[in-house]
Point group: C2
Chain length 149, copies 2
Amino acid sequence: MPRTDRKKAEASARPPVQPAETFRRSRHDRALETAQDYVEAIADLTAAQGEARVVDLARRLGVTHVTVNRTLARLQRDGYVSTKPYRAIFLTPGGSRMADECRQRHQTVVAFLQTLGVSAKAAELDAEGIEHHVSPETLAAFERFIKKH
Amino acid sequence: MPRTDRKKAEASARPPVQPAETFRRSRHDRALETAQDYVEAIADLTAAQGEARVVDLARRLGVTHVTVNRTLARLQRDGYVSTKPYRAIFLTPGGSRMADECRQRHQTVVAFLQTLGVSAKAAELDAEGIEHHVSPETLAAFERFIKKH
DNA sequence: ATTGAAATGTATCCATAGCTACATAATGGT
DNA sequence: ACCATTATGTAGCTATGGATACATTTCAAT
Ligand SMILES: [Mn+2]
Ligand SMILES: [Mn+2]
Ligand SMILES: [Mn+2]
Ligand SMILES: [Mn+2]
């Protein structure tokens, strides 16, 4: 059996938890970020101005309308939105459910950070990324903390 | 001027903060995730077994050795690591500095979540993703909370 | 009804980040 | 010294997500 031991390997055998799992979870969460941000934005825009258009999403997300178009095609393929050429964008029931969860979670993460003493500005900036990696267990802990303070 | 007003637009003009900025920040953080996870893993492996090899990184990160190879080429291009064919991987001074920061921040995020009542398992899983979106201000708030509890 | 500006769509390019399949190098056990 | 196993490297595929340049469609003002 070649290549088995390393320069000073015999000390610690294997780490207690498989670290590969944490990275896989992190990558999995990252893959859902786009869908979550889009459905959340579509729900926000529809609530705020009656409809969500491609330009609105592009402005809101800080990308070009081309990126929005291709992403919407993927979201439609995956059953989150329904679009017709040159028309407004609508969430499917599934997309609407996801949007509700994301809005709620986003709100909780922002409120939690502010309760902790983080400025409104930094809380909003950090939450936009953090929200996608907060498990239900951690979200519950955030909510407990908010209620207690 | 066509296409100016929307179905019930005149109510709220523009949101208080430009939301596009938060998404740009989030995407920027996301782009650094890979580099941060790799240098952190290289530092860990080097500390634990004297050297970091491609196979070790592949096992640790849960990807194939091919993915590790291409990523290392990018990290070398960007000045974080130095590699020679069929040899172990070394961090440059810059890579080492980044690794130290990442290890410290990772540790803080995990400890913070546990202090908040999150289980060790969930804390580790969530921290792997959250860490990359925690600003210095929020990190400082986490540290204050840990010290106070 | 016309028409020009805005919105939307399409073609094509680039970088990142995963994979399988195959080729070559290194090394420990014999 | 040999060689089988392991480690490493390379070729080429896919998907996501960003961009610019150009084409087409809509729609509000005239
Ligand atoms: Mn987000
Ligand atoms: Mn959000
Ligand atoms: Mn990480
Ligand atoms: Mn980490």
